[in-house]
């Protein structure tokens, strides 16, 4: 990436802090001063050891986590849109039309067949059922999901089968921004190859992608750039001391020396992945 291109997504001085009320209001700072810029047709891969909180960034871009400080911005042709403090109704539209998310685990809806799970992003845009079905089946076939599973709810599928349903659901709607949280983690070589192809096709369409890949081979093939997070993600130090709310403002948050032993996922007893 030598040419300077207008980014589609950018982050500036981005912070994330969790406040744990059950632990006496303890503040868990997990990200400080993150900067990123992602252009259309580019795949930026988040680098850093496991548990550092890479998924946290994806969840902020997808709206699951709030932005504690700094800016997260989408750059449209007709202007910028700041993602912090958007009303809920704006997120519905963004997730339908702009931001796609392949989460690590499929949120299974009882009784909904694999085919329908994949069709849903298209149906929510009002695309005709026949066309949605055809596109879903094409993708499921490419990902080698056995045809006999298409009519079944994915609840009883293996991890790899569920992941392929999730990937098909994430890629079908061709969102201009795609967040990929370890899409190849439980796939065999043949299916990893299909995912690499899907990513390359998405790049060719101009999709901007932000991804996490633990598989080095896949990472090297799809990444245009790496974004090292060590300097910004504070997932593994000592617990930050209880501070006044004013200390949350970006200006006064110059990298606390210490951070927590607890990982963000220890906050709730029920970490859950979003369906949409």
């Amino acid at each position: 990436m030598t040419a300077i291109r207008q980014p589609f997504l950018s982050a500036s001085a981005l912070d994330k802090t969790f406040v744990l009320h059950a632990q006496g209001g303890q503040q868990l700072a997990v990200m400080r001063g993150l900067e990123l810029s992602l252009a259309p047709g580019e795949c930026l891969v988040l680098a850093g050891r496991s548990g550092i909180g890479k998924s946290t960034l994806l969840k902020m871009v997808n709206g699951n986590y709030r932005v504690s400080g700094g800016r997260l911005t989408l750059h449209f042709d007709d202007g910028e849109l700041a993602l912090s403090d958007l009303p809920a109704q704006a997120w519905h539209v963004l997730r339908r039309d702009v931001i796609g998310y392949v989460s690590q685990f499929l949120r299974v809806v009882p009784r909904v067949s694999a085919r329908e799970v994949v069709m849903e992003p298209l149906l929510s845009r009002g695309i005709d059922t026949d066309e949605a079905r055809q596109r879903a089946e094409t993708l499921l076939a490419r990902l080698n999901l056995p045809r006999r599973l298409w009519d079944l709810a994915p609840g009883t599928f293996s991890g790899g089968e569920q992941q392929r349903v999730n990937i098909a659901r994430g890629f079908i709607a061709e969102h201009p921004l795609l967040l990929l949280d370890e899409p190849t983690a439980s796939l065999d070589a043949a299916n990893r190859e299909v995912v690499v192809q899907l990513i390359e096709e998405a790049k060719a369409r101009g999709t901007a992608m932000l991804g996490i890949f633990h598989d080095e081979d896949v990472r090297e093939r799809v990444a245009d750039r790496l974004l090292p997070l060590e300097g910004h993600m504070l997932g593994a130090g000592e617990p930050a001391p209880l501070t006044e709310p004013s200390a949350l403002t970006p200006a006064s948050c110059s990298a606390p020396a210490s951070c927590s032993a607890a990982t963000p996922s220890a906050r709730h007893s029920t970490p859950q992945e979003p369906l949409s």
């Binding site: 744990l20 009320h21 059950a22 709206g63 449209f76 849109l81 539209v93 859950q272």
Partner: protein, 273 residues
């Protein structure tokens, strides 16, 4: 690409609503806007004021203070001016007009289907009744609509002449939903629609409600104490405690990144099998 249209027209506004039966009993200072096509979940423990709020919003009980405003949309409203978008103050219009709204443009799904059905008359008549209120009289059409809707809620259309009292609880609930949605209302209020049902029946009902809200573009106010139900159905949540809203926002945000100490407690108290 250009930024998509991010706002949708308002359908229902609650402006500083308070309805109290005693100290912290009822709901107070509730203020929000429901937009077209949005499913709003109201969650909280029993006694948090959810059902009181639903009664006020749906025209069943006047608030002590505050206003409920309904936007009729381009098509206008029953008893109003067709083709004119009006903002109706729910408790300033006449009782007759409020009832007409509830009968024709709104729907109310009770927790207990026996509150929403007429148990002594046939399933088909239950579904047809709201259509008759809209002026449909053709017997064949009413019966066809009854059979069509029984099929859509996965009831056997051959049982159209059976009385709901011969149905199981889950079947009664699906019949109540068919009866409510047959008139294709713009706005539906649901009070714990899956409460009291077996989990297998609940899953079926949830799947059905998800599909119907998407297909009909319904706006829904859904009261539930079940966060899993809220996650599946609601776009947006309001968390209530002691009559007040303690936190509101995008469903995923409330459940994945709760800010208020009560919401954190609520989310961390859920059992996941």
């Amino acid at each position: 690409m250009k930024c998509p249209q991010l706002t949708r027209p308002a359908l229902l506004e609650a402006r500083d609503i308070t309805r109290l039966y005693g100290r912290d009993q009822g709901c107070q200072d509730i203020d929000f806007t429901l937009h077209q096509g949005e499913v709003l979940g109201i969650v909280g423990e029993s006694g948090s004021g959810k059902s009181t709020l639903l009664r006020v919003l749906s025209g069943l009980e006047a608030p002590d203070r505050g206003r409920v405003v309904y936007h009729t949309g381009e098509a206008g409203s029953v008893g109003g001016n067709p083709g004119k978008d009006e903002a109706l103050d729910l408790y300033a219009i006449s009782e007759a007009r409020r009832r007409a709204l509830l009968r024709m443009e709104w729907g109310l799904v009770h927790q207990n289907p026996r509150d929403g059905l007429r148990l002594g008359v046939s399933a088909g008549a239950n579904v047809g009744e709201r259509l008759m209120a809209l002026g449909q009289r053709h017997y064949g059409d009413l019966r066809a609509a009854g059979q069509d809707w029984m099929g859509r809620v996965e009831l056997d259309p051959a049982r159209i002449d059976d009385a709901p009292r011969t149905f199981s609880g889950g079947m009664q609930q699906r019949l109540q939903i068919a009866r409510t949605l047959v008139t294709e209302p713009r706005l539906v209020f649901m009070d714990e629609p899956t409460g009291g049902l077996d989990v297998s029946v609940q899953a079926r009902l949830l799947d059905m409600l998800r599909t119907l809200t998407r297909e009909l573009g319904l706006s829904v106010v859904l009261v539930t104490h079940d966060l899993a139900v809220a996650r599946l159905l609601a776009h947006r949540l309001m968390v209530m405690r002691r009559g007040r809203v303690v936190e509101a926002g995008l469903t995923d945000q409330i459940l994945d990144d709760p800010q208020h100490d009560y919401t954190q407690l609520l989310v961390s108290s859920v059992l996941t099998p």
